[in-house]
Amino acid sequence: MSDAAKKPLLEVRNLRTVIDTAHGTFPAVDEVSFVLERGAVLGVVGESGSGKSMLALSLLRLLPGKGRIESGEALLDGRNLRALSEREMRGVRGRRIGMIFQEPLTSFDPLYTIGDQIAESVRKHLGLKPRQAREKAVELLSTVGIPRPDLACDEYPFQFSGGMRQRAMIAMALAPDPELLIADEPTTALDVTIQAQILELLAKLQRERGIAVLFISHNLGVIAEIADEVMVMYGGQVMERSEVVRLFDAPAHPYTQSLLEARPALDRAPSRLRAIPGQVPSLESRPAGCPFHPRCGRAMDICSRARPSRSFLGSGQEVACWLQGAGNAFQTHARASGAGGES
């Protein structure tokens, strides 16, 4: 594996995921590219509907029925996940890439104990016997700070509080020792104090285990606490990607700037970032050109006509905006195939 070790843990190239709707086929994830190194934390931020969850589910190849990856690739240790058989993919899910979901209540099967649900993936991926798997589950529950883990192990999800369930969810995702954890809004459904505790727990486990995390949130404040690097998404596209400090100090993209301005002064309440004027266009009515142009205060003529390409501003900052004076328009698939309502 020395060869694989030199490659980044996850490299996504021009990933495009489309959804079939009654009105046609539209991209929910549009030409997304990024690199996630081992042990690093990449935050993904964007308003509701920007394609964050679709991106996460694309990586695991667990898209809902109407969604499919249309083009691009996702390389895990240099191995293209799209090329794996379904059986090989099952070996990646859980074992190499763990996932934490937003809703701790509905994320567990109500009919099985928490311990059983943790143990089932341990048994599959680590080949443990039921007894050992149970011990492992107890150990993990204690790691994530669940009191009296040996009793909690035999309890059902409905007997857990929301915060405890999310801790158990983390234990479940970490059980087979994945190298990459995808956390899709893991704190959004929780109340503020619990949010902070869960975030702290995740940050601690991430440091201790050196696990890489793709941390999805619509809350920049949350992202700031945990991420090394941030990717800002809008309309399925990456607007800006930058190291976290730099993003807050010198946001280069007008959308990032609006996000930062819309942030409540003391970032406490779970903000839905409503303060940006205008509305997020629905999947079916995304504008041509730069997806942000109808809401952008600095939009120019060209913004509505052509999609800006990525410009690299040094120290890893990457922006897709015509203000950066980048060269040619990005030739997107959408335009080539006539899909996506673009003309």
């Binding site: 589910l57 695991l60 667990l62 099952r90 070996g91 990646v92 899910r93 859980g94 074992r95 763990g98 996932m99 979901f101 809703e103 509905t106 994320s107 567990f108 099967d109 109500p110 009919l111 099985y112 104990t113 089932e120 993936s121 599959k124 991926h125 059902y156 409905f158 007997q159 479940m172 087979p176």
Partner: protein, 306 residues
């Protein structure tokens, strides 16, 4: 759990008392069984004698009291037509009815649940469309019609099965299928719908995200969750199994409690009607208690909250 069952047993007892009381009232208010028993030429004294022999000379309220006292000791009296103990007549026929009911139920669940699952997993595909169509047809056809159709096709046109009677396995086939078709249709419909709903739930994606096989997703997680509405459906359908068996037993000459009840009701054989009703009610209640137990086994929330 024990308290839950004691409560259910109490409820069942009350239900049985109510049912037999209603039957008692209806029978007593709808005509005079002694008039029908006595020969048309019988003298007034002879009729009065008969009346006294069966206890029909007392006022209704007193008779009702006696009636409950007798029933509580499982004394149903003698049949007015055969003069045999009504209890024995019903008990003799009970095995045939249980055999028919459970065979039909077994056919319907063993086929219905996998078919419903298949339809849900293949949503919109040919297998699904076929299952939906068959289930709609099965529910639209009255059971006597299904029974007659089966007799016509398999007893007359292609005579491979006995069209009526009792005693061998072959005799069981057509009557049990007649009842099973209707049940099956309902089970397919409910299994399919509840499976589709469960497969939409976030925890299914979570199970998949752990890398578990589709077999585990479907059978361990989705099916168990989907089976809760199916149990409810079975509880609802039990009434139909009984109603259906009265019809089906009569059509196929199946010597069960249903057929006995139909004959007794027609002949105003009051003790037999009461005894048959009593056991049918008992059967339905025992069955629904079994299903309650099944709920508890399937769903820990039921088990722990009660």
């Amino acid at each position: 759990m024990l308290r839950f069952f004691l409560r259910r047993a109490m409820e069942s007892l009350i239900t049985i008392i109510v049912i037999v009381s209603v039957v008692f009232l209806v029978l007593n208010l709808s005509g005079d069984p002694i008039r029908m028993m006595a020969s048309p030429t019988a003298s007034a004294e002879e009729v009065a004698e008969l009346r006294a022999a069966f206890g029909f000379d007392k006022p209704l309220v007193l008779r009702y009291g006696d009636f409950l006292a007798q029933i509580s000791r499982l004394r149903f009296g003698d049949s007015i037509s055969t003069r045999q103990p009504a209890l024995r007549m019903v008990l003799q026929r009970l095995p045939a009815t249980l055999l028919l009911a459970f065979t039909a139920l077994a056919i319907a669940t063993i086929l219905g649940i996998p078919l419903g699952m298949l339809a849900a997993v293949r949503r919109g595909k040919a297998a699904d469309t076929a299952a939906v169509l068959v289930s709609m047809m099965g529910q639209a056809m009255p059971v006597f019609w299904i029974a007659l159709l089966l007799i016509f096709v398999f007893g007359v046109m292609i005579p491979i099965l006995p069209p009526s009677g009792y005693g061998t396995f072959a005799h069981l086939v057509l009557p049990s299928i007649s009842i099973a078709i209707f049940l099956l249709a309902g089970i397919v419909r409910v299994t399919r719908a509840s499976m589709l709903e469960v497969l939409q739930q976030p925890f299914v994606t979570v199970v998949r995200s752990k890398g578990l096989e589709e077999r585990i997703v479907l059978f361990k997680h989705a099916l168990r969750n989907a089976s809760i509405p199916v149990l409810t459906q079975l509880t609802l359908q039990m009434r139909f199994v009984i109603g259906g068996s009265v019809v089906v037993e009569s059509v196929f000459g199946w010597p069960g409690v249903g057929q006995l009840l139909a004959q007794a009701a027609y002949g105003r054989d009051y003790p037999v009607v009461i005894a048959a009703t009593f056991f049918i009610a008992l059967f339905i209640l025992a069955f629904s208690m079994m299903l309650d137990l099944a709920y508890g086994l399937v769903d820990p929330r039921v088990r722990i909250w009660h």
